[in-house]
Symmetry: T
Subunit: 144 residues, 12 copies
């Protein structure tokens, strides 16, 4: 399975932020961890702080050979109509993940504008959210 | 690992409801599937349509030998302060799961009153939401 | 026609409550009155103060020989997602009734969460709301 | 019993509109059907697309020999303070009816500004809503 | 001074309505009373239950010899953008009056959509609201 | 008739403020004008910028020989529960007045918390609002 | 192409109103302008200040030989459920037009209740909004 | 005086929950403490996690020899229309109590749906809330 | 124990106001009653209609020998950030009391801005609210 | 006339998205179509998925020789204060266009933050929205 | 430059309040500090806990020789229309200051009713907010 | 002190925009002015119209030798969760500045999403806001 792991704003700074919400791993750690754990899959890692870059990364998956998308849109999760519209372009399975539990923080983080266009959302398990995301994708892939 | 799988209102009717939102498996199918898939764990399955029964099932875990809780509170997810308060009693890991993606249905299903007291929430993967829930619990257990 | 008449919280106390809103008949009176008036139909009367019992009473109608449901969910009308989800399980006609006019009381009684899943709603005619409910069911039955 | 059946905007076009919401009968069909079904009553049928005409039709019932009003105010149901104020002028029983279930459509149809001044509201039974309305009136009449 | 006294829906039924809110005078009484009290002025009395008629009555004042408008838009006060837009056409003084105190009734009567385009609003003094309205107009006229 | 004219915050500065909203008269001018115009009445003029002083001025009217109250509570009109509660103590007629039209300014000026406890409200006529207020009081007095 | 140009409240007064928002042309000017500009089309011009008249004008297009509707509902745009329901009766293309830009005025003008039932909305170009409306209709007609 | 002390969801777990909000006493401790402190009164203690049980406990007081009710409805305080309706059945004094100060916690705990039907509410004094509740009941009893 | 009993706007008029909400005792009666009932305590009684006076009365307790505060802020309860901030200055126990049940009156009385900074709130027991307040203070004092 | 046609996020993917809302043309098709249709005008086509790029494209028009702007800001239409502020920099005519009817989709698409700073908005006519946009610009240009 | 430094409720207690929000300096310290730091300016210091006193302090600046106002209205910042109206009387520069960052505390502190009538607002720098306020005033003064 | 001055969307166009709100200086003028005025400090000037660039500029300050940040996020101030999250990464002092007074313009500019993560906010003093920002930073630096 070939899978894109797409990360949004500030996730490049993981490990430098508030450990209470996001844990101490860096994004590199997480990416290495995923590669090690799922040696049978091919991952395309991408991170951007720009909303439009994320839109274009999603667009690049149209008619590509990528089988699934795991995305953490960070702060754009709660506001971006543009990313939501881009997700509508895809036919492959989409899993939205979050490191922290979005239902347990500020009220404005409770709603996911983008998650409405994903197959499902996994929130609150730190780096394990990504692992669970890959596992979810494996199952979604079987059904296709 | 000993783990309670707690299901709320109408989940006893799974397989008889709208397949578009919930899939065609019955709750028994899902429970058998989990038992088969995770033969190393012991599961306590419980389902109730009564809010108070769910509160008491949660209370029964206090000072028990159960290691984690996976819960799908169905329609009570969005309204029950009593269940939320019960979850506050627990020290063990809690994973809230939903068959359908709560971010992609009616607006009143977007908010999880109970999920704020779980470690994380997994929503939208059908019966795989439970599988992912057990996997999430395994990882949370390691950290304890 | 075999028909369930399902009553929710506090309707067992009818006749003891504020006569202005609910009239002076007891629930027994109303049930006898319906039995006498519609001798051609068979009624299953049930009342419960528990939300979960009402959910289960509705579930019991799935694949049963009951032809229709008349329900007054009392205070749960305005809040219960669990009952609303249970109503979604049924293929038989459903009529929601209320003794008092829900449009003419406190603002929170104006909205019916459960009524959205009924064929129709009859509100404000005291015990005649039930009579009209049976008559509505007779017509809905003809169309099936 | 002498009874006015008052219909508001677009109900003159019944049978030409979306059959899913309103059924295939024309307003004439419904009126003939009522006349046939209730040969013991005298009906005054009136329909207008003008809010003010509906206000005046209601005013015409003051100190008249009409015994009751059955009204479907169509799109004005949800907004008209003027019709609501006119209903306040009447001492006779008033039944508000709707062809479709106002609790199961757009959010703005959920609230009835005018229904607060009726004895009761019957919603969702197609042309049977009118039949039930007459039957409700018969009972309300007995109590006067 | 030549002055239009414009009354909206249900004001033709004054004296037949709830005396608590509106007093026992009929609209004729009030008009006679005004004619008697202000013999130096010429009044054009008009009442309509139709929103569009009220719009047209206001339009008729453009480039006319009428010096001022006293208007009670009844139930349209709280909702009519069309009447508000019509008032914008006028250069003459406008006084909005109400028999009852709109600040002391239902919440939806508190706001005056139309009053924003009047010079001032007088509310709560029964038929004296009209008398005060004429007196206000006399003063506004002096300033023109 | 003995009548209190009570003015709230910033009305002592009239004539120094934005002439567009409030006119060019000072409060003294207005008070002299009222005294001259209504030589048959006795006026008690009071102004305070303190909410509590206004409360106490209202309280001083209980069991006094004052026949009526005309009040302009300025900025407290829109927020003061304390003044509203004080007005509830009075049995004499109360008229609330405003120089500018509160329906035609900022949204927060549209609502009158205090006006709900007055007999009526006169708004938008500059110093004539006070004149109209006295005239309204004369009529209210006759009915007592 | 045969096309109805339907105008709502106060549009008969065009040219007499605030030139800033609506321009200096009269409705007659605009209608002559359209007739001159589009000599290949037949226009039916209608204007009414009455909501119900507009409903009936729309109804008159059902099963008629008119090919399209261009409508400016004026103040009713933002509130009329009745007009919205009438538009639902039509199978022909519908274009809603506004002289001023409804997104750039008072907040209550931002929402178009009726526009949801049109093919498209053109707002802000003065009399050119009508010209653009006819051009839009020509294209919509080609697709039928 | 014979008095029911009714406790709602999760109060059976007192002493095991967050000491900051609720103190360290168990419900048994509190009940023993009340029995010891008020040896002149007879207490009926009841606790349930089920909303419907609480409704029925309240109903059991109708026409009973119980003189007063002290109730802490826990999480149902903020949502239960059914309990509110049940309280309406009683003629005896009702005191609602809370261990923690509901005005100083999450926003959704600020409102008491049930407290509107009690004589009064005592909130924030830990187990002393119950003591104060009994003392309040003694005084309310004297007035009966 | 030395204790301040602080009363806000209009409470000096007790006994003259609506007996339904507030009872027939005067504030003097209540103060004498408290002095008589609790002869072991020293009371400092203060009442003011001015928000700022209440702020200063609270400030006077800082570093004083007063052991506790019982306060009824009347109409300021629902709006005063200044009083709320002043309460934050105190280390002694604070009990907020109300004569009437704030949960059973107008919606704007439901929220207590100031109560969030008290230890607890007692509402609805007439003058007994003060008695209960002193008793609550006695217990709070023991814990200090 | 020299005119910029500016397209926002996801419009580069036109023809690959949901044909129901957006039609089957690609952005290239539309641009060729415009060039062909309006051979007398010069077009500068630009598309970006980045909010900031759109801001800069707008800024580039200041003091340039471009005569007008036609813009479709896609998902940024409903949220971007930055684009709105950039539009404020321009003196040339601006027409906002949308392929689908923003009044007939999700509620969050109803409001145009950016449209408030355009001369007008054209919404719902597929690629014809752009054609109408150019035609609107031609007329706006004449008035300059 | 002669400048009034006006402080509202509870600022007289500075140094005794929560050091986290407000720092440890007393108001005297701050005033001495300002006098020392800006020996070239003359300061008039005033503090009051009464809303009306603050209104009057502002009024005293009309036609005075004071060149500017620095004001911290404490809890009245968020609610006082009366102070806002008083600020409208002034022609001199006005700077609103806050010790704590009003954007980072409770939601109700985010909005400044009074700040809308100041030239600018400085919030969050402890006593330096006053220093910055004087510096801001110096610059504003130069432009006069 | 080494300090970054970070400017957001449209601030590169300063001097070309509405002088009423933003003054006539260009961004270069302001930067030169700051350099001249504070010759003892080193400034890093950066401006971007892209939200993500601003996020990255903030990230670049982590573990850098920059001592403080002065930021004006323009239109992103009111919506950007991504920038807010980036500010959370910093340990150095942060001052948010605005040229115009955000409390005195459109309602949507009143709230600062990003300001909640700054030490303080300075708004309304034109280019002096930056000067005051540097002065604020100097003081904050002393406390570190």
């Amino acid at each position: 399975m070939k899978c894109m792991i797409l990360n949004g704003p500030n996730l490049n700074m993981l490990g430098r932020r508030d450990a209470g919400h996001y844990g101490s791993d860096t994004l590199d750690n997480i990416q290495d961890f995923l590669t090690g754990r799922f040696s049978n899959h091919e991952f395309i890692f991408m991170q951007s702080n720009l909303e439009g870059d994320l839109v274009e990364a999603i667009q690049s998956l149209v008619d590509s050979d990528v089988d699934g998308l795991i995305a953490n849109f960070g702060g754009y999760t709660h506001t971006s109509v543009a990313i939501r519209d881009a997700l509508d372009l895809l036919d492959i399975p989409i899993v939205e993940v979050h490191l922290s539990n979005i239902h347990a923080r500020e009220k404005f983080r409770e709603r996911s504008v983008t998650g409405a266009k994903a197959n499902g959302v996994i929130t609150g398990f730190g780096k394990q959210s990504y692992v669970l995301g890959v596992q979810a994708l494996e199952e979604l892939e079987k059904k296709q």
